[in-house]
């Protein structure tokens, strides 16, 4: 089985995208953290100014998943900016359903993303990976990725909404 296509996501795909987001979150053991809704995805991805771009992997009906799905993988990305080198492509989520792994779908998605990055004059493609996720880290390193946290000491930080509001009140 190697029959699949990669295409740009359309508004009709949002329920599949949300399903796959939740599956990936489950794998990362953080399923209850997904508060995004289909409505959010629709507005934020297909409105006048999209906050993200998405490609989906689709198989024909005769190869659909055990639970009847044809959209079996996706990648969500957006463009960021590094003031030293300019535009970057940031890969936010990247997932292929378990039963469809080992067929080169993930590799094809990654190639398509890198082509998009090159075509849009991005210097780099960035993403984050959990350090315990050895299979993914190996997958990326085999293809030439470098770990900036290890090599240069970068640490990722967040400030959540509560503390953000506190900061605006202090101003």
């Amino acid at each position: 089985m190697a029959n699949f296509i990669l295409r740009k996501a359309e508004p009709k795909d949002v329920s599949d995208i949300l399903r796959l987001i939740k599956e990936l979150a489950k794998f990362e053991e953080m399923e209850d953290q997904v508060i995004l809704t289909e409505k959010d995805l629709l507005e934020d991805g297909f409105g006048d100014h999209p906050f993200y771009h998405c490609i989906v992997a689709e198989v024909p009906k005769q190869h659909q998943s055990a639970d009847g799905h044809m959209i079996i993988g996706f990648a969500m990305y957006y463009f960021t900016y590094d003031p030293w080198i300019g535009k970057l492509l940031y890969l936010e989520d990247f997932y292929v359903m378990k039963e469809f792994r080992g067929f080169g779908i993930g590799s094809e998605i990654l190639k398509k993303l890198s082509q998009t990055a090159v075509r849009t004059r991005c210097s780099s493609m960035h993403f984050i990976v959990a350090e315990w996720n050895k299979p993914s880290i190996e997958f990326y390193k085999r293809r030439g990725a470098s770990d900036l946290s290890l090599e240069e000491g970068w640490r990722l930080f967040k400030i959540d909404k509560q503390n953000l509001l506190k900061m605006t009140n202090e101003e």
């Binding site: 030293w84 890198s114 030439g144 900036l148 990722l156 930080f157 967040k158």
Partner: protein
Amino acid sequence: MGRGEKGEKGAQGVMWPLMGPGVRTKPLRPPPLPLKKKFLIKSTRFTWVTCFGFKTANFAERKRDMNILDEKGELAVYEKMPDQVKISHKELERDGFGRNPFYQCLVAEVSEDHKSKDGHTKVGYSLFFYTYSTWKGRTVYMEDLYVMPEYRGKGIGKALMATVAKVAKEQHCVRLQFSVLDWNKPSLDFYLAKGAEDLTAKEGWHFLRFHGIALDNLAREAP
């Protein structure tokens, strides 16, 4: 949590980016300080730089803000990577002030009589953009935050960051993210005091990238 709390108008009909044309300034409330420093703080203005379009941002504003690149040179030196600044004023202008801006930028400006030793009135900046979390939705990513050494300890960094937080709030973002080098203790302390969490330590996230040749090779493998 998330966008559009109950009772608010919500994000319906809110256009992004939410800035109007021209430049807005917001005078700072001077904090209680010794007479000498108070004078300096009182004059500090924050310029909300709009990245709207060529027609609405006038050339003088864009030209004036191009010394952000000089400041980036300083930030690069602080992060010990001065040879890594590869983009020019032209790219910065195109990418921030075109029809489709890739970043937003705030500058901290002092009056002429408080300019720096080398004659600058722009003494700090923050560059940020919008990102997206598949779990939580709209997020702000703060790429750069910098205040010239001679202007530190006066609340400028704090005020820059608070303004970024304000923009995040206005745009219904649920989170502010950024990254810090592990040896940068002053910055780490600054952020932790504001309630920041180190996700690399806490959850094990590492930053990876495909850069330059690695990216080209990956693209070339396509059938």
